[in-house]
Symmetry: C2
């Protein structure tokens, strides 16, 4: 079958997925957990095959680490699914109900988006995690994983499909695409695919975003800032900078550029440098920074770079406004924090920093679906429509408008024989 | 100034717009009403100029009608603004509040999207309507109107800008673009423009959608269906079909294709034909339809055509499923209705028809922001993310996450010294 047919099948499956009762979706999730545990050895064997090939091809250490799908990861994805089963069904909720007139009732009801295209690199756990999120939210899914994880992905997709069949899910709700050409084709299928979620490196995500007309949920860069205000507690500032930069350097919510108000730079920077030296973090500073501490110079490109590494760029600014300008100019709209004792400055920062996540006196590393208590994370979005920041299952949900009438026609209202009442209705579910 | 600079100015203005208090925004709206009434003659004179040029250039009658901006339309836009003043401010609402831990509080707060690009044809009232909606929702706006309305648009944009200045709105919150080249440039400015709203013909909207990476809110086609079920009250069915088709033919929510269950076609079609003949509606039917009534044949292209005219295509189907398939294949995801006495069939139609607006036993013509009681209509969207169907001001709104801490760092949680509480908070507004 060619990919257009696969996508068409997925679209048809999505219509049936949208009708599923919560109990059936949860049953399918339980069966997925069961089959993954039961067929653990098949998964581990397939993954060893992928790892062997990858080692022979001299893939990098971090890539091998992401590719590895061991007992621990199996345990982790299974507890993830157990948590997902506990979550409320996001489909079929009445978001708004209005009586337009007697026996003419309008309902805004949550429903799945339809067909979600997931394109991810290396990590096979992403396959399990995102396909189960799509299942719970009633979406069909087209998956394309990295070729280095092909054997593992094939086994996992096969098991999830089998479990779905046992639970009575519609055929074709999940489809694994296998070739690199499939990605290009997938990106052009806006007729059938309603949302693309890419998971992988910045270059990879940027490539996806630049090569499709389908809406993309995600983020390319995470150029996060901490700004140390002139009104600040230096000890707290140091603690937040160290955590934001060092707690885990290779992630999108780690600190990349530190902005320091000129008035506190003299006191803060020497102490910060010795802490960062201990942690092996390289500092690149603006000229004014280099007047205070002996560090490498930062060049223009540093302000727009996501290092994802033990490197920190530092710039001294004269005012809160300059800090906000810098963030809105060079940032990626991901996560930015201020450390201040002034509620007025906190307020201004909060209002004018144009990012998905704006933090006051805490580490940028909190920007995460699990830490936010969302229950499950679809991804982190730097879009400015639909869903922003850490996105839970609500990112896979939209709504439709249902109007229930009894032979009502517009002419009666246009010609003044009838009048709209527009009364809010107190309904949780649609009555039959 | 080139358009990139104009857009950058709009972006900077959007940051200030997002901070405005409701009282200032409402004051600006009042001043706009006042100045439009006060300078009525300037507007009417500019509009006469546009109309004269248009007449000399032999523009079509419907276009001239849309271009006309007379006392009645001035009255209408002013009452629209009066209603907008009464609406709740959509900005700064706490959509969710969670205690992550003691003194670590997460808020999901509604905020403007940023810079909205509005591209519209002919109708100058659209300029007033959409720019005031952007104002109330705290967005900056770049406007590009049709060249045939240039004089009217210039006067209107000038008056709105003056009123905004008097009320203390930031400079550059509204910018009128004037040349056709500006549209192309606008479509490429995804760095500064966050959402495009096109208003005009299908071809126009499709052109916009196909030529930008910026999200577009709107719809190209409105190919709306009514399906007459086998379990149906024929009188009600006839009433709904006539209203859906004839109440106003030139609009996106008018009926274009009627689907009739074979069991009721024999009784329904002859009666329908005589009603439609009276109204001067041309029927194009499938073969089975033509076995019952003497009408022109429908060709494949008819099922995918939005006539916006006194033409109706009719197809006889064997089942509800076939009707749903037809709608999901040829429809545009706008508005589709079923006429049935079976709640089971209504339910199935409601679930499986993949459209923004799905109606049971009422006219497709109800699909409209005013009739839905939304207070104001930004447009009608056939997108499947962000906003769907008639979109009120919520379509111009997104949210940001604010995390208020007191020196909190992630290491404490990662290393087990502290634990998340994830308690919902009962807060309506952020306390300082």
């Amino acid at each position: 079958m060619n990919i257009t047919e696969l996508a068409k099948n997925a679209y048809n499956a999505s219509l049936s997925m949208s009708e599923l009762k919560s109990s059936r979706k949860n049953l399918a999730l339980k069966k997925i957990v069961h089959i993954i545990k039961e067929k653990k050895d098949d998964i581990l064997m397939a993954n060893r095959k992928d790892l062997e090939i990858a080692e022979n091809e001299n893939l990098s250490k971090p890539l091998l680490k992401r590719l590895k799908f061991d007992e621990e990861k199996i345990q982790a994805v299974c507890s993830g699914i157990d948590m997902l089963i506990q979550l409320d069904d996001p489909v079929g909720k009445i978001l708004k109900a209005t009586e337009l007139d007697q026996d003419l009732e309008l309902y805004k009801i949550s429903c799945p988006i339809g067909v979600i295209g997931i394109i991810f690199e290396s990590r096979p756990d992403a396959l399990v995690q995102i396909s189960t999120l799509c299942l719970k939210s009633g979406n069909a899914v087209l998956l394309k994983g990295g070729k280095e994880a092909l054997h593992t992905n094939k086994v996992l997709a096969g098991l999830i499909t089998d479990a779905g069949k046992m639970a009575g899910l519609p055929d074709h709700w999940l489809t694994l695409l296998e070739t690199r050409e499939d990605v290009k084709d997938l990106l052009s299928l806006h007729q059938y695919v309603n949302l693309i979620i890419p998971r992988g490196s910045n270059e990879f995500v940027r490539y996806i975003m630049e090569n499709t007309k389908i809406p993309v949920l995600g983020h390319a860069d995470g150029i996060c800032h901490v700004y140390i205000d002139n009104k600040t507690d230096i000890d707290i500032a140091l603690k937040i900078v160290i955590d934001s930069k060092c707690q885990y350097v290779a992630v999108c919510n780690a600190l990349e550029t530190l902005l320091v108000h000129a008035e506190v730079a003299g006191e803060l920077l020497p102490r910060l440098k010795s802490l960062l030296d201990e942690k092996g973090v390289e500092i690149r500073g603006c000229e004014k920074t280099r007047d205070i501490i002996n560090v490498k110079p930062a060049v223009e490109a540093d302000w727009g770079t996501e290092y994802l590494d033990t490197i920190l760029s530092i710039k001294i600014v004269d005012s809160l406004e300059k800090a906000i300008d810098h963030i809105n100019t060079y940032g990626s709209g991901h996560t930015d924090a201020i450390v201040t004792t002034s509620s007025r400055n906190a307020q201004k920062f909060m209002q004018r920093v144009d990012s998905a996540d704006v933090f006051i006196n805490c580490s940028t590393r909190f920007s995460d679906g699990y830490r936010y208590g969302l229950g499950a994370e679809v991804g982190i979005s730097t879009n400015k429509i639909h869903a922003r920041g850490p996105v839970g299952m609500e990112g896979l949900i939209i709504y439709k408008w249902i109007l229930l009438g009894d032979g009502h026609i517009v002419a009666d209202y246009a010609e003044g024989r009838k009048h709209f009442t527009h009364k809010p209705l107190d309904r949780e579910y649609l009555s039959e």
